[in-house]
Symmetry: D2
Subunit: 276 residues, 4 copies
Amino acid sequence: MEFLLLYTRQTQVCAVTNDNEDVQLSLVQLDNYGPWTVTPSPRRETDLQSLQAHLYADFADFVGREDGYAFFDRFDNIIGVTNGIDRRTHERFQEHVRNRYPVTASIGIGAAPTPVAALGRATEQLQDAGSAQDPNRTEILAADGTVAPGEGEVTIAHFDIVDVTGTYTDSEHAARTTLDVRRATLELAEYMQTEHDSIARFVGGDNIIAVCPHLSEDCFDEARDAVRERADIELQVGVGRGLTAHDAGYRAKLALEECRENGHRVHQITTQVATD
Amino acid sequence: MEFLLLYTRQTQVCAVTNDNEDVQLSLVQLDNYGPWTVTPSPRRETDLQSLQAHLYADFADFVGREDGYAFFDRFDNIIGVTNGIDRRTHERFQEHVRNRYPVTASIGIGAAPTPVAALGRATEQLQDAGSAQDPNRTEILAADGTVAPGEGEVTIAHFDIVDVTGTYTDSEHAARTTLDVRRATLELAEYMQTEHDSIARFVGGDNIIAVCPHLSEDCFDEARDAVRERADIELQVGVGRGLTAHDAGYRAKLALEECRENGHRVHQITTQVATD
Amino acid sequence: MEFLLLYTRQTQVCAVTNDNEDVQLSLVQLDNYGPWTVTPSPRRETDLQSLQAHLYADFADFVGREDGYAFFDRFDNIIGVTNGIDRRTHERFQEHVRNRYPVTASIGIGAAPTPVAALGRATEQLQDAGSAQDPNRTEILAADGTVAPGEGEVTIAHFDIVDVTGTYTDSEHAARTTLDVRRATLELAEYMQTEHDSIARFVGGDNIIAVCPHLSEDCFDEARDAVRERADIELQVGVGRGLTAHDAGYRAKLALEECRENGHRVHQITTQVATD
Amino acid sequence: MEFLLLYTRQTQVCAVTNDNEDVQLSLVQLDNYGPWTVTPSPRRETDLQSLQAHLYADFADFVGREDGYAFFDRFDNIIGVTNGIDRRTHERFQEHVRNRYPVTASIGIGAAPTPVAALGRATEQLQDAGSAQDPNRTEILAADGTVAPGEGEVTIAHFDIVDVTGTYTDSEHAARTTLDVRRATLELAEYMQTEHDSIARFVGGDNIIAVCPHLSEDCFDEARDAVRERADIELQVGVGRGLTAHDAGYRAKLALEECRENGHRVHQITTQVATD
């Protein structure tokens, strides 16, 4: 195990542990979806919203069944954190979509030391198979190697806004609250993607979940600083590690509860599983 | 009918028609949802994702049935454009949630000349009824007057990114594409909210839908300029008006198809219904 | 109004009120569904079960929204009691199916003085439009006249088995319980269809719901006798009348609660709405 | 391996192979569901139909994911054929129900040489844990041993009615067709349960699926005879065997296709896996 010292500020040190463990991400892409939504004429928007939400919920159920995580992302592109979920399960999801929906789905699966690299591999494999709007590119499953259960650990950071109900929901215009939550999400996602090769996404309410490499607590404090500076919003964050997104994320949720109760701004629950 | 001249830039004129017609927006708020998600211990994230997506899909189906529109917004707060949808239908949705989900929902309904003002009224009425995390504030339906069918017209603007498949989906890293779409969405939403009292939200893929007052085509061109300047992304937009969000939105979709085919950047399909 | 005296047994008199009021039933038929399930090869049975159940649930939501009732019937043929639900709502359901499912649906709507006659008209209209397995017969909506709200009253009878939990669920083999419930359902459905032109269907648990013409309480007592004789099962029944299936059915449920509490075997809650 | 000669009629011989292999069935029972449906007042019937159908679809998806089969049975009691599906997956389903529905579910799992015996064990274990309407009996998971993948083979027989579209759907009253299909189902289910310790259930359209011990083709011919005699309906049947319900059922579907094409009335596709 080696430590990469990124930089110090006062006494804080954001340390990235390069433990050579891979994380696995999946990119579900609806086949030729854009053209379908307007053929033969534009389809009713609320039916499309219903279709997309159901399909996303089904994917969340699929990966959740095996302790993965899901992000709705752009709905026609859905992201899964799928450590330990094999090729066959992804095929079953494709079969399920084909049998239950008027559209089909292609999937790229990538494994790499960081979430962004893993999603990059998933993306490239799909792109190599043809355009998302090529009618002949249908139900591709492109997987260049998968992370078996027990191999790689994953870090989940679960952020929310300090006292969102008092500060926003119960006092601000709903439209203002939403844009502020969105800006906090976007600035956090940009920061985590650029600085730490991490994927952060909005998951409802004022919650943002990031899947990350092995970072120290100080890295998350610096991410909070970045969001405060760019969006003037105060986040708190619980962090957990585990062999699956659910294991890591459950610890992150417990850690965030700790923040809510004790006023901490960053809390990490270390895993029982040794990482070196 | 009176015209408010906002400002001119070169030969463009963004004109807002103040036709004293109201638009109706609904704000669905899950009751005491945050605490529920961690009681007695944090619930599995994918189950929450599935719950939120299904509940949103059901709301989209509900308002879509009567030609409304729905935005997932923050999932625990969902927005509906509900011109002509009465109190009883909203009550039926609350009954449906109570009978089908482990949570309940409160709803505020507001009618006003602009979408932001309408959503503001919806918000205030909910806030007046108690905190979103007050366990005793349950299944409130706060409606200070509703827009009957045939009364107010609504404007829908349907934006997307010019050549998103070629420029992004088929060539960029999926994580990059998503953040760029999100930034375009956020800057557009901020601009439309601040400048035109409009609500713009992401609806999947590269699509952003705005519900607006009665604006001229030039206003949308200026909105495109704003997004190009702030986020360096080129949008195109179809605009429609009608007595319901679906009628207006369907025309907006047709107009956007016109943009895609003919290279226009703004296209408006005027309604057959007289507005004065 | 005229009374038809059917027969007497001891002091009981089963009276049918011929009030010339129509009831409306809808028959939803999936287009060319059988062939689809095995094309290009047999589809996974659980996916078909999931598809059928979701589509039925959506139909139940659709008609329930306007106070109708739904029976799953054979899943590829679904029955609705749709008094007051117009052609446009049925079209919206067809649009919803087209946009959300890999199959499409045709619908026949029939109005007649009895449920069997109404369903017969719905059936004939679909049959006249072509075979259910004709690939060219798609999304037919065949409606020869619909019952507007406020015109015809409907009678709902809600049956269940006396003490099913004690007698069956908690003491019998689950397979035995199911077959006994099924036999009670079938004998009741045959009796009600043959004797009273009524449609009775299983709706879950030990509940059977019948949509009927205007029958007196004694008719239901005789139906209970018939089931006791043919299947050796003791039913109780609540009966209600109303302008919609939901209004009638809600009263029937209240009446059945009355049976459960007070040991009655037939209880009817008369409607406040005058019927002559 | 031993053969039990049941009886002969002309030259037919129905042989049951007693191969001492277990089949696993699961009984999902909603906790205290009946009282919930009328508390505090009777809930809207279509909402209950929607709830039951969604919950059943979710169970079908759950077991289908691991190649099991599901029968809706009585909706508040749902049956799964769950060879190779372990305790943890059943727990995940219970967690899913708790997080997504306003009700909870208990499950009994039984393994035995015949389906009826397996379901009997599942039933007994639930009954031993308390009444289905005991408010304190919640989320029981009672499993006395489970069938691991690769251990026991299962036989699936997939029946349907010969030329149902021509004979019924396109020519008969829909109400008549349904009752005839129901009678065929009931008589088949009674026969298979009594004679062969098998569970047969309606799965939509004119399809009936039976999970059976290892029976010879002649047994199915005799079952067809029984239904013809009791209900005057002509069935055909495809039979398959495999390590999971899906494997067996897929072969049964292929075999039934063979019947449809070649006019056979019973066709069996034998598994590649040796059974002795």
